[in-house]
Amino acid sequence: MSASAAAEALGAPAELRQRQWATLARATLRQWRARIGLAIFLLMVLIALVGPALAPHNPDAFVAAPNSPAGQHGLLFGSDYIGRDVWSRFLDGGRSILGMAVAATALGVGLGTLVGLTAAYLSGLIDEALMRVADVFMAFPQIVLALLVVTALGPKVWLIILVVGISHAPRTARVIRGAAQQIVERDFVKAAEAVGEPRRRIIFGELLPNVTSPLLVEFGLRLTYSIGLIAGLNFIGLGIQPPAADWGVMINENRLSVTVQPWGVLLPVLAIALLTIGTNLLTDGFARATIGIERGE
């Protein structure tokens, strides 16, 4: 059906906008990478959310001899280095990492978008200043920045979210600034300026809706980094503190006995790997879909 014929049949703006997103979603899911990514992502999110309710044992309870092999004592994947149920701890350990990763990403991408759009719109000195500050932040590898703050102020959940989020912000700001710079040049922004539209409304009303595609891609990408970073912090012991069940913590706890009882390490490692791969495939598929749609394919 041609564009004009499609337009005839359409009604309210809300419905139209939904259709635009539906087109994008279809173009995304037409690709195998995106379908696989979505399946993996949904599976891992499901485990993280529903897992705690399905855990056969209390994740903190000692239920068997340490490092019991899989299948013994009715434990599906055996017990960990101090005799807790690996399966139950695995099911229970996804929620914290996923929650923290999403929170940190939302914070970082939100902040980065605000800075990126402001820099792109105001340009000139303010743009320079914001971007130089971003450069300073980007000079530190994200994990170093996180370690620095967490060792200084202590391993607190809110602090980890904050520092991981802030470490994402300059990277997102760069991407969004780049995307928005092309939008700022367009005449509809000039038209808004000519009628005296407030700056805040130009940034959020004119620019933001036109960078939603890169924004979503950026969110997906930063989410994978967040998962890796937070798992890393938990692994080093600067994140969530034992005895809480968490995938990162589990890897750390059980790594010494990995030769005797591999499941305690293998399950959380697989989970983290799958979560990042799934997120990444989905994001990649979405990014390809937006490019394809722009090309008119």
Binding site: L16, V195, P209
Partner: protein, 598 residues
């Protein structure tokens, strides 16, 4: 020179190209012949399939398309039978191409000399280096460019747009092709440059006996250049024949309407647009494709696709009424009349403006009175858009004064009062960029209404939006569309509706029709004329197209290099121009009337 037995370098018979995805045809039943030394003008509006046909002569098909019928013969040999390697040698060798935008067609990393000799290396490998160098110099001389070392060592960005286009033409002619396809090569050029480029193409075609297909939407250019003309509409050639026949005795209603949409430089004939839009592939009506927009259509036109009617001398028309409509006189349009100008609305006093360190306006003064339409004419780079932006508060770097109804305005729109911002409204050149693609038309106009003080419920604002759309002859249903669901003309109407929603005193129209097809351009000009008649709006109409403003402007201001060189009542400027620059501009503007001596 190897040509087919009848001397036709290009023969196209029954060519059909389909969209691979749906099987709908993009173009069908394309028949044409071009003889050596002859120029065929292929005229059509955007989406008519003219570029698709032009590319088919090079053996190309756009992605998503496929040749499914008919044949293209170059020098009597069918392209379809050629192997890939043979086709590659053909392109640029036997058939060459002049693109629309030389800026993107020339490799920015290669010097001019290198670009040209590379072309020769690919297609005339037997040449020695000295022969090749001689040919490069010859090719540049043919297009009136210097061929010295200094010039050959330049990069494309060091040339002007006109020089770039002439380099592209030199490249196209360097291998001595038999056929040349020109895809609107003068669209981006100023009239003076355009005139020179057209003359170059014309001379080269004659001197080298090249068969040229000149694809364009500009009827005036075609009238100046072509020997024969084919008019395309919705993927069909609806009328073809010798140039004088087509322009003096057009038979197809579409050709006639198209000619009436072309602005006339000499008379005061009003331009009249064609309502509606051309049907897209897969969406075409069962009968004649033009029937839904044709005011002469009969019952038969709506049900039955017309067969070609030959009228002798190669004049072929696809219309059921070709015979009867022989000499039917079309009514000349009445130019809109507005009341006499009132008091001065906007005055520009001694404005000097700069872009960075470069001064683009020198001591410019201008007034626009109530109820007056002032046309600001100039070529690209003359500073006309900068002046308009100074008035609208979008260009801040100027000295001098912009006075609105007695009050000097601040330089930046943001620093002006809401009242001042309301009273000067700006309509941008490109309607594809001036509307936020993420907002519906209704949201865009509603925002403008609220910004300038409209209060009320959603329903009340919605009713106001509908009124605004009706004023520009759009249906209220358009409010629910996003800009990408509208055609270029419809978008420009929305942009005008947005400007009028503020109820301004002055409407600044910055090249508002230059991104549009001629029939749409005519409709927009018609609309602006009617709006003036109804509302007594003042207008500053900025354009590079002199012919366009003949019927709508009261006064003309001509600018070049940031200075005003002539100013006066429209009739006076057109009939007795004083400035040399205006005289050149008038002489170089191609018109249908001048070309066919009518």
């Amino acid at each position: 020179m190897a040509v087919a037995e009848h001397g036709e370098a290009v023969v196209v018979r029954g060519l059909r190209i389909d969209l691979t995805a749906t099987g709908d045809d993009i173009v069908d039943a394309i028949d044409m012949e071009v003889r050596a030394g002859e120029v065929l003008g292929l005229v059509g509006e955007s989406g008519s399939g003219k570029t698709t046909v032009g590319m088919a002569l090079l053996g190309y098909c756009r992605p998503g398309g496929r040749v499914t019928g008919g044949e293209v013969l170059i020098d009597g040999r069918p392209l379809a039978a050629m192997a890939a390697g043979e086709l590659r040698r053909l392109r640029g060798g036997t058939v060459s191409y002049i693109p629309q935008d030389p800026g993107t067609a020339l490799n920015p990393a290669l010097r001019i000399g290198r670009q040209l000799s590379e072309m020769l290396e690919a297609h005339a490998a037997q040449m020695h280096d000295e022969q090749r160098a001689a040919r490069v110099r010859e090719a540049l001389a043919e297009v009136a460019l210097p061929a010295d070392e200094e010039f050959l060592r330049r990069y494309p960005h060091q040339l002007s747009g006109g020089q770039q286009q002439r380099v592209a033409i030199a490249m196209a002619f360097a291998c001595r092709p038999h056929v040349i396809v020109c895809d609107e090569p003068t669209t981006g050029l100023d009239v003076t440059t355009q005139a020179r480029v057209l003359q170059t193409i014309r001379e080269l075609c004659v001197s080298h006996r090249v068969a040229a297909v000149y694809v364009s939407h500009d009827l005036a250019v075609i009238a100046e250049l072509a020997d024969r003309v084919a008019v395309m509409y919705a993927g069909r050639i609806v009328e073809r024949g010798p140039r004088d026949e087509i322009f003096s005795h057009p038979r197809h209603p579409y050709t006639r309407r198209l000619l009436r949409a072309v602005p006339d430089l000499h008379g005061a004939r009003a331009v009249i647009g064609i309502p509606g839009r051309a049907p897209l592939p897969g969406n075409r009506p069962p009968g004649c494709f033009f029937a839904p927009r044709c005011d002469l259509a009969l019952e038969r036109c709506r049900s039955e696709f017309p067969a070609p009617t030959a009228l002798g001398d190669g004049h072929v028309v696809l219309c059921h009424r070709a015979g009867e409509l022989a000499e039917g006189e079309d009514q000349p349009g009445r130019p809109p009349t507005a009341g006499p100008p009132g008091e001065v609305v906007v005055e520009v006093r001694r404005v000097d403006a700069r872009h960075g360190s470069r001064q683009v306006l020198h001591d410019v003064a201008l007034t626009v009175a109530r109820n007056e339409c002032v046309a600001l004419v100039g070529e690209s780079g003359s500073g006309k858009t900068t002046l308009a932006r100074c008035i609208a508060g979008l260009h801040h770097n100027y000295t001098g004064e912009v006075v609105l109804a007695g009050q000097t305005l601040a330089h930046s729109a943001r620093a002006r009062s809401a009242q001042a911002r309301r009273q000067i409204q700006y309509v941008f050149q490109n309607p594809y960029a001036s509307l936020n693609p993420r907002r519906t038309v209704g949201q865009t106009i509603a925002r403008q209404l609220r910004l300038f003080g409209a209060r009320g419920s959603r329903q009340q604002i919605g009713a106001r939006v509908a009124e605004c759309l009706e004023r520009v002859a759009l249906s209220a249903a358009a409010a629910n569309r996003f800009p990408d669901q509208l055609s270029g003309g419809e978008r420009q109407r929305v942009a005008i509706a947005r400007a009028l929603a503020a109820e301004p005193m002055l409407l600044v129209c910055d090249e508002v029709t230059s991104a549009l097809d001629v029939s749409v351009q005519a409709a927009i000009v018609e609309l602006l004329g009617q709006l003036r008649e109804q509302t007594g709006l003042s207008m500053l109409f900025i354009t590079h197209n002199l012919a366009l403003i003949r019927t709508i402007a009261d006064r003309v201001v001509v600018m070049t290099d940031g200075r005003i060189v002539e100013e006066g009542p429209t009739v006076q400027v057109f009939t007795a121009p004083r400035a040399q620059y205006t005289q050149n501009l008038l002489a170089n503007t191609p018109t249908v009337e001048a070309a066919i001596g009518r």
